[in-house]
Subunit: 398 residues, 4 copies
């Protein structure tokens, strides 16, 4: 049994199974994938990686399963392997490249069956009597046990909320995961939280609610990440980059390809390196632009073209970012009260309250280079006003 | 006045001078230089960068100068600029490439005059009425004021000891820098610590003493860093890499060049990527190998050749690492007692004690690939025994 | 300038004014007044005192005033003195004895004019050219400057929220007071928070919202504190204790008087010492008992008598606790946006949301000794049902 | 299984055995015994109690025994009970009253057999099949298993070093107890630390070495505690206080008795309440006063008389404090290396080094009231010089 030092959990114990899996190239690669994409442009301390996060998730899964008497030894190993391997499907900069990878390969980061079924990982799992397909199913949360690593209230989010708070330095690291894990159990094939864990489950929600605007959707990271994905798209369009290889790449390699480009991608890369980012021309909530704006998701290039034409600039100088409506999956977590299972938002008034407030965290952004900020804002306002049929944009929405 | 969140110091305030300097490519480059080289192979959390460290040093310099009434406003700006810019001369992976850069260019990382005198940095300094040459002198610690950023007890080491502890997660982050800074003043052109800061100055020593073997000279990072420098040397020998360009490069670019190589460098790079490191064949203290061994510093290739010949393997499969004798510069810091200045090791028994104990932290290493571990150890033992004239190597020294 | 170590703020600097005030018997007495009353029965670590809290408040006031250029040096001293002295009016166990003291003396803990106007404190203030009456007005928040120590968003609550979290060990210590203070200023005689401090102001709200049910209104402390106040009341009724002397007493003295009693008070004291507390017979929210229940505040003895009669036990074996409706004063704090002042709950959706959710934190309690728990619950349910006219009490409300 | 929140260890689990023992008056009494005596006069946050410390020790003992497969379930319960109960023999203000209690009753705080053998504790132990005498032996460290709670490297000191650091706020809380416990095992009836725990064991030493002068032997607490014990002695001499009842008392009761006195004790009590402490007239190390001074331990009243006579004041105005030579028991802890057991100071150069340096932490003190400081210093210097035969006292020794 070896141990490794972790700033979040103290010591993490590594047994032979874990040690072998860690030493595979697939796991070592995660050392070179930043956990929070380009958030380090906002929080200089946020340079942590998927590797340490994976160790943390494995650690919490071990803690949780060790208290569940109903689970067999080999099932515990399955879950620990699933926890450790759950992020091997991530591309460069984690979630930043996820939508591009999905667009071309139809695979999300949780789809790891092809990765687990071959090479060293498959061999190691086999040596320990573990089945790659079962583990891949756990990782997708498609089994009962898999809910430990992938569900509304899994150990994945317990680790990343606390870890992201530690490295960004924000003061919201208030997830009481020790208590939460202590209260978790299986009940009728569901992973449920006992009543004694209600406050701790609420703390998970509150933490996400506060981290969302401050960290996960901070407009500066959104701008940088939008710029980055456009650069990647440009390389793919030019056939410089094979989108099917993207998923095995690392942050540095992809960045080097972008820097090596002498066109649009290269220019965006240089801007990112020197932190000369696009600026907000418009950054507004759903109350301003109306629900209809969500229809443009996936078609922002057309909107960019139209606004660019209105202003008379090149459409590459406008970036539009329309995120999904925010949701807090945790509110569907199950709480066991008096032998009955309630959804967290049924059991807790706080949670139901936050559910509504969280919608106000949504923002759509129109970004452009500094020089065109004023003209693009006016054009964008006009465009969205027309679409919405009202005239309620305010200057303070910037 | 903008603020930025820092996990170590809380908020750091950035005024216009600092904001402008931060936005130069030279400072932005530090975002992509790891503070602790390859220590993240031992401590997965140690991914912090020279950029955030530079902000931290600037923050502490600001705190210190703000309490010194004898210093003028423009001198304060000089020192703050010096603190912020003190690491722009670092090459990839910080200290890891330092000796190679010095070997070819004769420049150490503190030699930043050429960098400050041209381009955007020079312009910004000029706009604020600051002289690049003076600032470069401060950074080298060659002025009285410069001792704030470069001396036996400067704000540089106050920041990095605490910061390195935060990210590695070791429990030794015990530098009481708030107290230390509170007690610092200039006295007869020397930066001195008042008697009330004696305990805090001792804490700096103790911290370094404990961090040295656990973090800074951990054998696994030493092995990885030795492998890395050999790979860089190989690229230079093959003319693939121009050593004069090394200093402006970033971690990722240099790693990519190593990976792209199809010879020795590439092989070492692949080993580093997959964490298949060389292992310790011998790892012993000065009491075992004798003082004479220090004569081999700078000539380890000859020793490697000789031992390789004894074993009958290629000399590239042996790496020898002979560090400098450890020294704790802090013990020369000046303490002001009853109007007299004493050296810290004169004023404090603890410090004098640690000075001796610290010598025991020195280790030399002979590293090789797993398969040759036994044979290389025997040969290396024989080699160093002969040189030393005794037979006292023990198996437990491994 | 001396410094003192504080677990929450690191070092706190003490100048001559503060040192002199600290050395008065009135301030030294606060060393022996627990900050959180009897919360240490729930959180064994919660033994901190009003003394260290007062130092913390003074520290934050110093930080805040030092950045406000519009305030004169002597006004800064006034505020610092006010911050340090703001709690000298607290009786034993802080808020626990507050309502009894108010009932007999008409004085709340903020009414400190009589204390400041005489003895050593008056002398020291006079020596430093400070007026006790002005300082007493600041402490009551009745001046513009006084808002720093007593208003919707004062340094008092910034200190105690973080301090209480540190000592109880709950994970909710998320007040970003460094940022908040950095953004505070006076505007048209109001203490306002700049837009950059909005998130930090929200964090204050969220912290209170989470601390309320977990710490400040935890049912076990409420039970213990209700028992304690009944014991004090019993001593007063028996003329053993002069209520006008209560305010100058310390925790230990009052406890010793209770222990020395051989009647009801003594029995309650023994129960508290041995932690044999009354138990919840009913512990329900406003949705269950209806708004009308608030009319019984101040007349709970009648309700206790009635229920005791229904059950056929002595009314001393029933304790009823009907707290005030919870309010979050902070939501009235002023935020300065584009030159206009908005209330925090107008500027922030989160705050408006929490305002509603916070009402659900209210609970009324009917407590009794273990043996009568079931019978008292039934009687109390019947009593309150009749009063409310409905039958919706559930067993799970216990 | 209930849990309780602890600021140091997070959550502590309490099973039925522990819950029952906690609810005894003997354990509840520890809520009212300060862990660090009068250190809160130096560190205002140091108000923690023996109660929370006892829970912490029980928690660490549970963690340690749970990984030792060689120990039976009932032995684990024995050790957990011993850990929880190990401090029930402490008198008011913990170690402050220890020597007086020992002088009259011949009992040290570890002698708890009489307390465990009667009343509720005996009943509860009996119910759980545990023998009070065995547990008392464990607490004295007289059994093999007992070394877990009382030996050179026991869980008692692991808890208090970290806990005392947390509440005083000093930065030296560097005991890596998680790692240390992970490496502990029984070997030939000895509790030993595996080689992997060497660094962690060293950290325990370093922590104590740093805590000793800053916290445990800070001259201000020593002065206050010397004053307090003289007051207690005065009450005993006057027959106001029965020394045989002292051990069952609590801090507050004893303080109230002192305050109620109208002679010397009462005067000292008033000084303590108002923090008008005696001052250092002489505070010097063994290098100054010579080893002979240790002979006066236990006879300081004679020395006080003699010096008082020299000065011409009442001997009650002089207090002399001659502590034992400091020792670091931890250095005798056993480290298991290659199947052999070494003492920690044999296995670690750092430890051997600290052993020597630690002697310099010793100080003897001559204290008096402010007015007599100069004259008492001169007389005390003369007295000790004569006894030592040299003239080397320096003014700076003050």
């Amino acid at each position: 049994m070896k141990v490794i030092r972790d700033p979040v959990h103290g010591y993490i114990e590594l047994d032979q199974l874990v040690l072998s899996l860690i030493d595979t190239p697939q796991m070592q690669r995660l050392r070179r994938i930043q956990q929070l994409g380009l958030s380090n442009l906002v929080y200089p301390g946020a340079n942590h990686t998927r590797f340490e996060h994976s160790l943390g998730v494995m650690h919490l899964a071990t803690t949780l399963t060790s208290q569940l008497n109903s689970i067999e030894k080999d099932e515990k190993d399955e879950i620990r392997a699933a926890a450790l391997l759950h992020d091997v499907g991530h591309g460069p900069l984690s979630h930043v490249t996820e939508s591009i990878i999905k667009q071309y390969t139809r695979q999300r980061h949780e789809d790891v069956k092809p990765i687990l079924k071959k090479g060293e990982i498959a061999e190691i799992l086999d040596e320990h009597g573990l089945d790659p397909v079962t583990i891949a199913d756990h990782i997708k949360g498609e089994t009962s046990l898999g809910k430990i690593v992938n569900s509304e209230i899994d150990v994945d989010r317990m680790d990343y909320l606390v870890r992201d708070a530690h490295y960004t330095g924000v003061a919201f690291g208030l997830v009481d995961h020790a208590r939460l894990i202590h209260e978790m159990q299986f009940y009728e094939d569901n992973l449920v939280v006992g009543l004694g864990g209600l406050k701790a489950a609420e703390s998970l929600l509150v933490s996400r609610f506060l981290m969302h605007p401050s960290v996960y959707y901070h407009h500066v990271s959104r701008i940088a990440e939008t710029m980055f994905t456009r650069a990647v798209q440009d390389l793919i369009n030019k056939k410089t980059l094979d989108p099917f290889k993207l998923r095995q790449m690392e942050d540095a390699r992809l960045f080097e390809m972008i820097r090596a480009d002498d066109g649009y991608a290269g220019e965006l890369g240089k801007r990112l390196d020197e932190r000369r980012l696009y600026k907000r021309a418009l950054h507004v909530g759903i109350d301003v632009v109306g629900e209809n704006v969500l229809r443009y998701r996936g078609k922002v290039d057309r909107v960019e073209n139209e606004i660019a034409e209105m202003v008379g600039i090149d459409s590459s100088e406008i970036l539009i970012d329309i995120p999904k409506r925010p949701e807090i999956a945790e509110m569907k977590a199950l709480i066991k009260v008096d032998g009955k299972m309630l959804r967290l938002d049924e059991a807790s008034n706080i949670v139901a309250t936050i559910e509504n407030a969280h919608q106000d965290n949504w923002r759509m952004g129109v970004y452009t280079i500094k020089e065109h900020r004023e003209t693009v804002r006016k054009a964008a306002q006009e465009f969205f006003d027309t679409k919405k049929g009202t005239k309620q944009f305010r200057l303070t929405d910037l």
